[in-house]
């Protein structure tokens, strides 16, 4: 029961957390560029405005698909916290991203489609890691649920340093940050205009933003899983990691999809794969 309450709390609070995170992100990014930047609540202003704007529908399937994207992001969090198997949550997480791809792809227009295909590529780059990470967490703790992992006496991160390293890299993809923001990003995304979201307007875009807030909160939850001594430790580590992401975002250019795929796969294979291999060899 408590687990379900936690899950529902996640669904309610994650957008606030994610939105504030983006707000801080925009201020810190601006400061790193020598600018003042927008107010802290800017993401919420944007969200509110987008909800009020006219939504120009290019076709009727876009909206349900985006709602699916948001819904599955929330459901991933709900399931994760309410005690569902964490490996299964990685699959649901992927499903959510897939809905966004389909929403963009269904428009049948050049830029949206290119964005959708690139999003598929970044999914291809990041999904193996998330599955592997969850499997590794299960292996270390012998537990399969969020609460179980939190209650475990192992500090997961200590046994999974490679996974933590790879997480830093792969999280860049999910946070849509340079150098891996090939399908869309918060900055005007150049060769693909707005990438995935090119043909979305009004509330459609607001939903995408909302889903992104959920996604950020989910990543924070994943970090909590890795640093399972306490939620506070996990959140602090996540915030530090997020700061590093902002720093890297402001210190690199966007790289091409070929390198995105190669580098994340190599990182997943070398760091997390190697880590998992050691784990299996050492165990028992």
């Amino acid at each position: 029961m408590f687990a379900w309450i936690a899950g529902i709390l996640f669904v309610v609070l994650a957008p606030i957390f994610g939105g504030l995170l983006v707000g801080f992100d925009r201020i810190i990014s601006a400061r790193m560029q020598g600018r003042v930047g927008p107010p802290l609540l800017q993401p919420f202003y944007d969200f509110g405005k987008l909800l009020q704007k006219q939504a120009r529908q290019v076709n009727p399937v876009v909206e349900p698909l985006i709602l699916g994207h948001v819904a599955f992001m929330a459901i991933t969090g709900l399931l994760l916290l309410s005690g569902t198997d964490i490996i299964f949550c990685a699959f649901v997480f992927a499903l959510s991203a897939l809905f966004l791809v389909l929403a963009a792809g269904s428009v049948n227009s050049p830029f949206s489609n290119a964005g959708a295909e690139r999003e598929l590529i970044v999914m291809l780059a990041s999904e193996p890691f998330f599955i592997l990470m969850m499997a590794a967490v299960c292996k270390v703790t012998g537990q399969s649920s969020f609460a179980g992992v939190m209650a475990s006496s192992h500090l997961v991160a200590l046994e999974l340093p490679g996974v933590v390293l790879a997480f830093l890299m792969v999280a860049t993809i999910k946070l849509r940050k340079s150098p891996f923001d090939i399908s869309t990003s918060h900055h005007p995304h150049q060769e693909l205009v707005s990438g995935l979201t090119t043909d979305m307007s009004g509330r459609m875009l607001a939903y995408v933003e909302l889903a992104h807030w959920y996604e950020s909160a989910l990543l924070a939850t994943f970090v909590v899983l890795l640093f399972n001594w306490s939620i506070a430790l996990g959140v602090v580590v996540f915030l530090v990691a997020y700061f590093l992401e902002i720093l890297v975002d402001n210190s690199t250019s966007r790289i091409k999809w070929q390198l995105v795929l190669r580098s994340t796969w190599i990182a997943t294979l070398l760091f997390s794969g190697g880590n998992v291999l050691v784990l299996f060899l050492v165990a028992r």
Partner: protein
């Protein structure tokens, strides 16, 4: 029970013989419908009679002994292969068939063949029950679907000589062979049915009799005969060592000594049949046959025979080196074909790679063994049969409307063939979307692989992680194509009206099957799959997988909520001309202004990861790697005693 199984084998054979003589569609159609209905009813009655209990042995009705009938049938088939091989100047297949026959004759004539207990010819347990349902229902639905498909197929390609009587005859013979295969307990009898399926697939692949398809047909024949040969040698080893020729005896526990060698050869047979690398190319070649053939080969027959045998053998090879090597052939195939599928543009080939990959998972599960992985294997077999059968039929339907198999030409399908697209969506969802069975199975496989000791467990999990993501990639590409929309003209709108009622009926039935199975996954797992999986490893009943019902409820609700949303959304106004095109003119037919004046239709091509993944190279690499592992497997089986 025995008469029911005999009926299931004999009736389709008879029906096939009758259909061979019927050349008029007006007679054939009711005949196929009636015969199909009988088979469906018979398989359901069989299952109900069986009643979900533990495995039972039985013989032919009235205690008839097969005697030399088996040998006679084998001689007949061998001579057929020899004749047809010589007629086409292909000598490898006749040679292998003759060697195999030679072994059988030698065993028989030298009296080395042990007596076969006539009351233990057949074995029927929960796995046979599932297989009978798959063959009986899905296989028959495919036969019915072919009534519609083949009519349009021959209209679309008038150069191909219509031999529809042969085609339908073969479909039913195929079903008969499969029924026999999944219920056989006696290995020589199983080999006979095994060869029947080989022969049927050979004839079906070569149906169009073009040089190309004849080549592919012989490729399939060669590879499957190689498997049959291995099967035959395994029987010979067992027979000459005085072992029992009953499958149930062989799989009572972990095999050792000479048994392991025989089992390794049987595994080789299973791997050829389930088109694992290095034998994948025959199934890809089979894609040139009419789509119902592909549907049948992939969903309910042929390749399923291979994994069926492997699942049966799993208790014998689990935890042995042979088992791990088998597992790595399967999992390696899964990874390699998933990589190759990403670079493939022919939709049917993508489906074929997906099949090979899914079966690779089953092979992997069978190799590692253990109740959990048995559960996974069965789950994949069921879902794969439903979803892949549906997908091949749908692709066949699309192919007959749009005259293309290229997935690039499937774009805006949701606008052009809306109802067909919904069926395709259900099929694809069944293959890779979260609450549907295959994903549940993959998840369960990862959970089970976590308990595999040593480095191989880590490698298996890595393969699962990468393979699953690749699966999402290639299915996602196809989904994008299918889901996209634009305004279409009056003519294009009318195309869907020409889909035959046979196709509507069978495809809708399969789609409903996919959804129903997802909804009923828990009861089926608890009542049928788990007891079987535990029984196969002689373990006490327990809950195999702790799937929280709440999780499934939430996911299913979300998935089923989406169609409702789609219906709601479709009543809203929208503007298909309103896509971003850098400020150029656009219209609802997705035409935009071109640089040098005039207009261009929006043309979109999916990504094939050129420059990162080289499909043909990976395929060769996979073939070589898996061949190496396979040889190691056989050698280990033969040498390590």
């Amino acid at each position: 029970m025995s008469s029911l199984v005999a009926f299931l084998i004999a009736f389709p054979l008879l029906l096939g013989a009758v259909l061979l003589l019927v050349t008029r569609a007006s007679i054939r159609n009711p005949l196929v419908l009636l015969g199909g209905a009988s088979i469906i009813v018979a398989s359901i009655v069989t299952v109900v009679t069986f009643g979900n209990g533990d495995g039972i042995f039985f013989g032919l009705p009235n205690g008839i002994e097969p005697g030399y009938a088996l040998l006679a049938a084998e001689i007949a088939m061998t001579s057929f292969i020899v004749v047809i091989g010589l007629a086409n100047r292909r000598f490898l297949a006749p040679a292998m068939a003759l060697v195999q026959l030679g072994i059988a004759l030698w065993l028989e004539l030298t009296g080395r063949m042990p007596e076969i207990d006539a009351q233990r010819l057949f074995y029927f347990d929960r796995l046979s029950m599932i297989m009978v349902l798959i063959i009986g229902i899905i296989g028959t639905l495919i036969c019915i679907n072919a009534l519609g498909y083949m009519r349009d197929y021959h209209r679309a390609s008038p150069m191909i000589k219509g031999r529809r009587n042969v085609f339908f005859s073969l479909l039913f013979v195929f079903l008969a062979g499969m029924f026999g295969l999944v219920t056989s307990n006696s290995l020589p009898m199983m080999l006979l049915f095994w060869e029947i399926t080989t022969l049927c697939s050979f004839l079906l692949i070569g149906y169009t009799r073009t040089n190309e398809t004849i080549g592919y047909a012989f490729k399939a024949l060669n590879m499957n005969l190689l498997g049959g040969l291995a099967f035959g040698i395994a029987i010979a080893i067992l027979a000459t060592n005085g072992q029992s020729l009953e499958l149930s005896e062989l799989t009572k526990g972990t095999a050792s000594g000479v048994l392991l060698g025989a089992v390794a050869l049987l595994c080789l047979a299973g791997i050829t049949k389930s088109a694992q690398m290095p034998f994948s190319s025959w199934l890809l070649g089979a894609m040139y046959a009419p789509s119902p053939t592909s549907a049948l080969l992939h969903s309910s027959t042929m390749v399923k025979a291979g994994v069926f045998l492997l699942l049966r053998l799993s208790p014998a090879i689990a935890t042995t080196p042979v088992g791990y090597l088998v597992a790595f052939v399967g999992l390696g195939t899964f990874l390699f074909v998933s990589l190759v599928a990403v670079t493939e543009q022919n939709t049917k080939k993508v489906l074929a790679y997906s099949t090979i990959g899914s079966l690779g998972l089953v092979v992997g599960c069978a190799g590692v063994g253990g109740p959990e992985l048995m559960w996974v294997g069965v789950m994949i077999i069921i879902f794969h049969a439903l979803a892949k059968g549906l997908l091949f039929l749908v692709v066949g339907t699309i192919e007959n409307r749009l005259y293309t198999k290229d997935m690039e030409n499937f774009d805006t399908l949701l606008s052009r063939l809306p109802r067909v697209s919904v069926l395709a969506l259900v099929g694809m969802a069944g293959m890779f979307i979260a609450p549907f069975g295959i994903v549940i199975a993959k998840w369960a496989a990862i959970r089970a692989f976590l308990n595999v000791p040593g480095g191989q467990g880590a490698v298996m999990i890595l393969i699962m992680a990468f393979g699953s993501s690749l699966t999402i990639f290639y299915w996602g590409k196809l989904l994008i194509k299918v889901l996209s929309m634009k305004n279409i003209g009056e003519y294009e709108r009318s195309i869907e009206g020409r889909v035959t009622r046979y196709e509507w009926f069978t495809e809708s039935a399969l789609a409903i099957g996919v959804l129903a199975f997802t909804a009923l996954i828990m009861p089926i797992s608890d009542k049928v799959i788990s007891p079987w999986a535990l029984g196969a490893f002689n373990q006490a009943p327990r809950t195999l997988l702790n799937i929280e019902p709440a999780m499934l409820v939430v996911l299913l609700a979300a998935v089923l909520f989406l169609p409702l949303l789609a219906i709601w959304a479709s009543h809203r106004s929208y503007d298909t001309s309103d896509f971003y095109s850098s400020g150029r003119n656009t219209n609802a037919q997705h035409v935009m202004g071109a640089a040098l004046g005039g207009t261009r239709t929006v043309s979109l091509r999916s990504y094939y990861l050129d420059g990162v993944i080289n499909g043909s190279l990976i395929f060769r690499l996979g073939t070589a790697t898996c061949a190496g592992v396979l040889i190691a497997m056989v050698v280990t089986g033969m040498v390590v005693r």
